[in-house]
Structures are given as structure tokens and as C-alpha cells.
Amino acid sequence: MASDLDRDQYSSEPDPTFVNSRREAIVIFCTWFVALIWAVTYCKINGYDIEDPANIPTTLGMPSWVVWGIAAPWLAADLFTTWFCFCFMKDDELGIAGDEEHLEHAVEVDG
């Protein structure tokens, strides 16, 4: 009976905070993967085994492979993060601090 009662306290719909968190986590993981592929591939092709390092091409004073392989995607990642934080990520209900309630009962407050 107790478990039936417990079940009755919950709707049949998944918790929206869980659903939103999972969706956001998948997007973040894909972002990490894209960053990995871009940075490593670009730097491998343009940063390793350079034939004439004495005349290495530069952009803004830095080796071009550093600028386009790391600095530019870094700025792109910052733009993405800004969009993610302010346009994509949902504000969700996190609930009441369970430990506060729990501890109120479990720990006897010494007077």
C-alpha cells in the first residue's frame, strides 16, 4: 500500500527539470565534440610538420594555426556559450532543499 501511495504522489509525466537537463547535456556534449574535432584537426593539418617555420604565417602576430585552430574557435565557443546560457537553457524548478527538511528531523538540535 505504501508504495502505491508513493507512486500516487508523482505524475506520469517525466520531470521537466530532468528532461531539460538531459537535452542541454546532449547539446553541450556535442559542442565539446565539435570543439575537439575542429581544434585537433585544424592544428594537425596546419600546426604540425610545418616545412619552413622561420617564415611561419602569422595572423594578429600569432602563428596562424594558433589563431584559426584555437583563438577563433575559442571566441566562437564564447558566443555559443552566451547564446546557450541566455537563449537556450531553461530556468527550471530545483525543488526545496531536501537535506534541510531531512536534517530537521534526523538531527536533534541541542539546546
Partner: protein
């Protein structure tokens, strides 16, 4: 000539301002410590009238944007960010941009992948610690205990290592300050005897340890968080001030006749010409043997005083360690680096001139390099048939060395191993005279001389050099590798694959972003923010913060290669040295104190978090949850203070005589924690089907896979270097292993109860 005057005046200013900046460092340091204690006192006030456990270990889940963002950023940036990272940039060049590249997504990964969900689950379960979450999420006591055991295991090692790192940083920062050295000299002998690392290390350890233990114990989580905020601001301000100064001064220091470019382009062009230095042992002499011991500080510039040395002229060296030139000794042997690049040499000679001009004692200016030696090993064959009592391994004898299929001849200086009598099979440490690889007719001539020497000393037949370190970088020193400071994989002293081969670059993308997500110390902070708006704004704040810190650091310390040649001799001092140089050159030596506080702040913010994690595991996860669930608040409070104090003192005692391989231990524990914790936590948060069997298997599997690679490496005779299948770091293997094992075991075992799934994955009905 402009650059010449600049460098000279720069060095003079630097020396003249050394005392001033030294006092600034001490003053800043004392203000900083005072600030930390004030924060601890204020935090302790907050502990009144609140639930003690939740407040002491989790700040009552009420962190706002700045507190949450900066505590996470500062905790993630350990001392390595401001000491080890600059030293790496200086030593390996632009490739460090790729090494740190994943920091472009680190904030969104470590806060966004788990943040919202772990905070929610912690609230549902009432968890205060990570083991708390796992125990309650699966309603399984054993899981909680396994995770507590792993946290205590990893964190204890790490805490000792961080205590040592903090003390070493403090020693590096305070070392050049007279007041500090006077204090060390005044210490009683017994104090220094507590540690094999010397009285100065002990003093730094006690100052660092007591400060961090007292404020953490007294103030709890809020003290840690607010000191982190202060430390985070110090770090950011330091970088913002240094960036324009570094670019401007490095550009000025480049000889304009060498380059048509300006700004960073000139710096990069200059770096492209650089060749890494050579590591050698040099023999120093003075015009007259000293009548009393003479101290030669590390970082002293020396040359052959214009004379030809081993067939080469114009050689310049920098000492790597403090050395005592003993009274009466004709020559003193010192480890040093030799500057190879022509442009570096010019700047090095200028630095030496300035040093000698200010050498009031007349020692440094009179030092002359008389010998250049390389380390080698001499092997006596195990089947040596002759009479070894007749063998004399004396200076000047020639010995053969098999070097990648070519037999070369080396000239012995001395055997350094202490042996009473030679035995067949012995392998002895030795020095050989400056080794030069000859070819063709020169090599043939050397062979002829060697064969002639055997007719004179036939007993030397069969005795050979088994290994010889000529001191050049394994990658970056060869003609075809010039330019390694501006290309990947970057120069490396020991590895022929360079500093960052591609497989390692991929591993670091896992290491920083994914392994960072799996750190329990970060997870605890994710349980403490107030609401999701705080989380969103904090991810943005940390992303901007890291952008303003990490990439600029790469630029600043690439400029340091121009401004401060020869710092490979003391690479760990590059941050304080650069801070003093940059600020002194603009007449603001007092600013150095603020900049130098940054690395100290970084390591302190990491140590305090680890300290609190271990004590929370002991108080909450072991004592309250398993031994005494009915403990009163007074008991909990007393135990929390006692455990934090005892754990801190234990780490301090452990750090007095720390084990070897400490840096390796830090790497091992960081990646080991992620391999053990990430998969179980991800499954617990996002997979309703997950159960305690699968998650315990994932935890033990990740821990085991990661550990086994270290064990295989150890068995293979690689010491603390792990075995890397397909050149992949153990963290990648550990994480894959953990996720796969957890997945399979979960599907092979019974699903969790409907009650648990409903509680954590379905919306609770109102009323």
C-alpha cells in the same frame, strides 16, 4: 642599440628595485593572509542560526552568481595554472595554446553537463556530499561507503601533494627576499630537521598550512567560497595588467635590425629562430682559489670569459642550482644550461654584463667556465675476463659508445659512482668531456686514436659507455626542427615525439573538459548554487573569465622568452620573475606583490576545497550516516571542526617529508577520480534504468582500468609513467571502461524499483 640600452637599464632597474619589490611581496602577502582570516571570521558568523552541516559543508545551497562562478573557477585553477602552466609555455612555446585549447568549452562542460540535474537530485535526496547522492539515489549504503573510500583514498594523496605544492610556491616567491632569508637563518636547527627539504621549506609549509587549516576549519564552506572569490579576482587582475606590459616590453627588447615586424609578429618571428638550450654540467673556476666557501646562486650567468672552450668560442651558460664553491677547490662543478640560439645568446650576454656590473662582491664577474661535461654511464661487461684491479678509469681515457648504430668515441672526465673496487657487470655514473658528434674523416681519426690507446691500455678492451646524454633536447634541437617554439608538437627534452604529439593533444581535450566534469570537488560546488538563473549566469561568467585568463597567459609567457632568456634554468620561477621585471620596467615595482599573490591564491583555493571534502566525507558520510544517525548538532559541529583540523594537520605532517613523484600523484588522483566518478554520476542523474549494481561496477571498473595502466607501466619499469595503449592517456581508457562496464552490468541486473524511478525522474504532484 636601442634594445641594448633597454635590456641593460632594465636589468639595472630590476636589481635596484629588487629590495623594493621584495618588501611589496611581503606586504601584499601579509594583507592577503589578513583578508583570508577576516573572511573566515565573517563566515563563522553565518554559521550561527543556520543548519550547521548544510551551512558548513554546502553554504546552505545559497550561492549567488559571483560566489558560485568564481569559487568554481578558482578551485579548478590550482597552483599549476600560475606556476606550472607559465613554465610550460616558456619551455615549449605556442603549442601550449593547443594544450589548453579545450578550456574554450571547459566552463560549459563542467557546469552545464551535470549542474542543474545534480543540484536538483541533491535537493530531492537531501544530499550534502557526492557519496550522499549516490547512496540516496540508489538507496544503497554500500555504494555510499565505496565512494567515500575512493574519495578519501584519492584526496588524501592529493592533499599532501597540494600542501607541498603550496609550500614550494611560497618558497619560490619569498626565496629572493632578504627578510625571509633572515627569518630562516634565525630558526632553531631542530625546526629544519623535521623536513629533508630544508628549514626554508618547513617555514613555508607551516605558514601555508596553518593559514589554510585555520580559515577552512573556522569558516567552513563560506570561508572557502569567499576566499576563492578574492583569489579569483587577484588572478584576473594580475593577467590583465601583465598582458599589455609583456607585449610592449618584448617588442622593445627585439633588435629592430633583425626584424621588420612589430608587436606580437616580431615576438613570434623571433621565437621561430630559437633553439632550446642544452643541459650540461660545467666546471667553474676563479682567478684565485677562494679562501672560504663561496655561494653561487641559481640563475647566475657565466661564460668562458672570451676564451675558446672545447673548440668553441662565445659560449654562455646559466646555473640551474645553488652551488657552494668550496674553499681551496680549483674547480666547482655545477648543473647549468647552455644558450644555443644566436639571438638568445646576444640577450644572454647583455644580461650577464648587467649582472656583473652590479656584482659588488666580484665573484660572479670573475667566474670562468673551464669545463663542459655530459652525463654518461660506463659499463663493464658481465663477461669481462681481465684483471679489473689493473683497470684505472681516469680522466682522459677514451671509451667507445654505440649511438644508434654508429660507434663513437667519448673522452672520460671522471667516474662519479662511489665504488670500492670494480666488478664485472658494473654500470657506473660518469662525466665525459663535452661530447660532439663527428662524422667521416674526423670519426675515423677518433677510432684510430681509440685503437692506439688500447695498445697502451689493453685492459680497457670491452669497457664502454652504455648511455650518454649530450644535453640537447630530444625534439627541437636538430637543424630540421628549428622553429619548434612556434609549431606543434613543441620542443621536448626527453621525448623524440615532442611535447604534444597528436594523441596527447586529444587526451588533453578529455583531461580538462571531461575529467574536470568528473571531479567530486566540482560536483560539490554544483550542489551549492541557489537557482538555475544563477547557474546560467555563472556558466557565462566563468567562460569569460577563462577566456581572459588562459589565452592571455600563453601570449604573456611567449613574450617572456624574449624578455628573460635562459629561464629554463629555473622555469618554475618564471611567473614571479616576469611580474617583477614587467612592473619594475614601468617604475611600478609595488605592483609585483599583487601579481605574485596570484599563484599562491590559486593553490590555496584548491587546498581548502579538498580539505573540506575529506572532512565532510568523514563527518557526514561515515559518522552521521553510518555510525550515529542521531548525533546532535553540537556533536556534529564539534566533530566537523576536529576532523577538518586533524585532516589538515595530517596533510601538513605528511608534506614535511613528501613521497617522490608528487606531481605524478596529482595527475594520477585527478584523472583517477574522474574515471571512478563520472560514469556512475551521469548514469545516476540521467538514466532511469540505472541501478546500484551497474553504477558500483562502473565506479570500480573505471578505478580498476585506470589503476591497472599505472601498474602495467610500473611493471614495465617506467616508474610512475602509465602504460598508454595506442598512446592514449589512462583517463580515456578509464572513462570508456567505466561507461561500458556500467552499461552492461546495469542491463544484466534487475531494474530499480518503481518508487525510486518515480522519486527522481517524475514530477511530484502538488499537495
Amino acid at each position: 642599440m636601442a634594445h641594448h640600452t633597454f635590456i641593460s637599464s632594465m636589468k639595472e632597474n630590476f636589481l635596484l628595485a629588487a629590495a623594493e619589490s621584495g618588501n611589496s611581496v611581503l606586504f601584499t602577502f601579509l594583507i592577503y593572509i589578513l583578508g583570508v582570516f577576516v573572511i573566515a571570521w565573517l563566515s563563522n558568523k553565518l554559521l550561527q542560526n543556520r543548519n550547521f552541516l548544510s551551512e558548513y559543508f554546502l553554504g546552505s545551497r545559497g550561492l549567488g552568481v559571483w560566489a558560485f562562478a568564481l569559487t568554481l573557477a578558482a578551485t579548478s585553477s590550482s597552483g599549476g595554472s600560475f606556476m606550472g602552466f607559465p613554465a610550460k609555455i616558456y619551455s615549449h612555446g605556442w603549442v601550449l595554446a593547443l594544450w589548453i585549447g579545450s578550456y574554450m568549452v571547459v566552463p560549459i562542460c563542467i557546469m552545464g553537463l551535470l549542474g542543474k540535474r545534480i543540484n536538483q537530485v541533491a535537493r530531492i535526496s537531501g544530499a550534502i556530499t557526492v557519496p550522499d547522492i549516490l547512496r540516496d539515489r540508489f538507496n544503497n549504503v554500500s555504494f555510499g561507503l565505496v565512494s567515500v573510500a575512493l574519495i578519501i583514498f584519492f584526496m588524501t594523496f592529493n592533499l599532501v601533494a597540494q600542501f607541498k605544492a603550496g609550500s614550494e610556491i611560497l618558497r619560490t616567491l619569498l626565496g629572493p627576499i632578504d627578510a625571509f632569508n633572515s627569518a630562516v637563518a634565525a630558526l632553531p636547527e631542530w625546526f629544519g630537521n623535521f623536513s629533508g627539504l630544508g628549514a626554508d621549506y618547513m617555514l613555508c609549509l607551516v605558514v601555508f598550512g596553518v593559514a589554510v587549516i585555520v580559515y577552512t576549519t573556522y569558516g567552513g564552506f563560506h570561508a572557502v567560497v569567499w576566499t576563492d572569490v578574492m583569489q579569483g579576482i587577484v588572478m584576473l587582475v594580475g593577467v590583465i595588467i601583465m598582458l599589455p606590459l609583456a607585449i610592449d616590453q618584448a617588442t622593445d627588447a627585439i633588435d629592430s635590425s633583425d626584424s621588420s615586424k612589430t608587436g606580437m609578429a616580431a615576438v613570434t618571428e623571433e621565437m621561430a629562430k630559437m633553439v632550446p638550450p642544452r643541459y650540461v654540467t660545467i666546471g667553474l673556476s676563479l682567478p684565485k682559489s677562494p679562501t672560504e666557501d663561496v655561494q653561487i646562486p641559481p640563475g647566475t650567468w657565466v661564460s668562458s670569459q672570451g676564451k675558446v672552450l672545447h673548440g668553441k668560442s662565445g659560449r654562455v651558460f646559466r646555473t640551474k642550482q645553488r652551488n657552494v664553491f668550496s674553499a681551496g677547490a680549483p674547480v666547482s662543478l655545477v648543473q647549468a644550461i647552455e644558450i644555443i640560439s644566436p639571438s638568445d645568446k646576444r640577450r644572454s650576454f647583455e644580461a650577464m654584463e648587467s649582472q656583473n656590473k652590479n656584482d659588488t662582491g666580484g665573484v660572479a664577474s670573475n667566474l670562468e667556465v673551464r669545463l663542459v661535461l655530459n652525463n654518461a654511464k660506463v659499463r663493464i661487461p658481465s663477461d669481462y675476463a681481465g684483471d679489473l684491479s689493473k683497470v684505472e678509469l681516469k680522466t682522459g681515457i677514451l671509451l667507445p659508445w654505440e649511438d644508434q648504430g654508429t660507434q663513437r668515441i667519448a673522452n672520460l672526465y671522471a667516474i662519479t659512482s662511489e665504488v670500492e673496487s670494480l666488478k664485472a657487470g658494473d654500470e657506473l655514473d660518469a662525466y665525459v668531456f663535452d661530447f660532439i658528434r663527428t662524422e667521416d674523416s674526423f670519426l675515423k681519426m677518433e677510432h684510430n686514436v681509440y685503437r692506439s690507446s688500447l695498445t697502451e691500455f689493453p685492459q680497457l678492451e670491452g669497457i664502454e659507455i652504455s648511455s650518454l646524454d649530450d644535453g640537447y633536447y630530444a625534439y627541437g634541437a636538430a637543424d630540421e626542427e628549428i622553429g619548434s617554439f612556434v609549431t606543434a608538437p613543441g620542443p621536448h627534452r626527453d621525448s623524440t615525439s615532442g611535447f604534444l604529439p597528436l594523441s596527447l593533444a586529444i587526451s588533453f581535450f578529455f583531461m580538462w573538459a571531461i575529467s574536470g566534469t568528473g571531479q567530486p570537488s566540482n560536483m560539490v560546488r554544483l550542489m551549492a548554487f541557489k537557482d538555475t538563473m544563477t547557474l546560467r549566469r555563472s556558466i557565462f561568467t566563468v567562460a569569460m573569465y577563462y577566456t581572459m585568463i588562459y589565452f592571455p597567459l600563453v601570449i604573456i609567457f611567449c613574450c617572456a622568452r624574449i624578455l628573460l632568456p635562459g629561464m629554463e634554468a629555473e622555469a618554475d620561477r618564471i611567473m614571479p620573475q616576469m611580474a617583477v621585471t614587467l612592473t619594475t620596467n614601468v617604475g611600478m615595482g609595488w605592483l609585483a606583490g599583487l601579481l605574485i599573490a596570484a599563484p599562491f591564491a590559486a593553490v590555496m583555493s584548491t587546498v581548502d576545497s579538498f580539505l573540506l571534502m575529506i572532512s565532510s566525507a568523514l563527518v557526514r558520510d561515515i559518522y552521521q550516516r553510518n555510525m550515529n544517525p542521531d548525533a546532535t548538532e553540537k556533536q556534529i559541529k564539534k566533530l566537523s571542526y576536529i576532523f577538518t583540523l586533524v585532516v589538515g594537520l595530517g596533510a601538513l605532517i605528511g608534506a614535511m617529508n613528501p613521497p617522490e613523484f608528487l606531481q605524478d600523484i596529482i595527475v594520477y588522483t585527478g584523472s583517477g577520480l574522474a574515471a571512478a566518478f563520472l560514469a556512475p554520476v551521469v548514469y545516476a542523474l540521467y538514466w532511469p534504468r540505472s541501478n546500484h549494481q551497474g553504477c558500483i561496477a562502473a565506479m570500480i571498473g573505471g578505478f580498476g582500468a585506470h589503476l591497472s595502466l599505472y601498474i602495467i607501466g610500473f611493471i614495465n619499469g617506467e616508474g610512475f609513467t602509465p602504460y598508454r595503449p595506442l598512446e592514449l592517456d589512462p583517463i580515456i581508457i578509464g572513462l570508456f571502461g567505466s561507461f561500458i562496464i556500467g552499461f552492461i552490468v546495469t542491463l544484466k541486473t534487475a531494474p530499480p524499483s518503481d518508487k525510486v524511478v518515480k522519486k527522481y525522474f517524475y514530477k511530484k504532484l502538488e499537495g
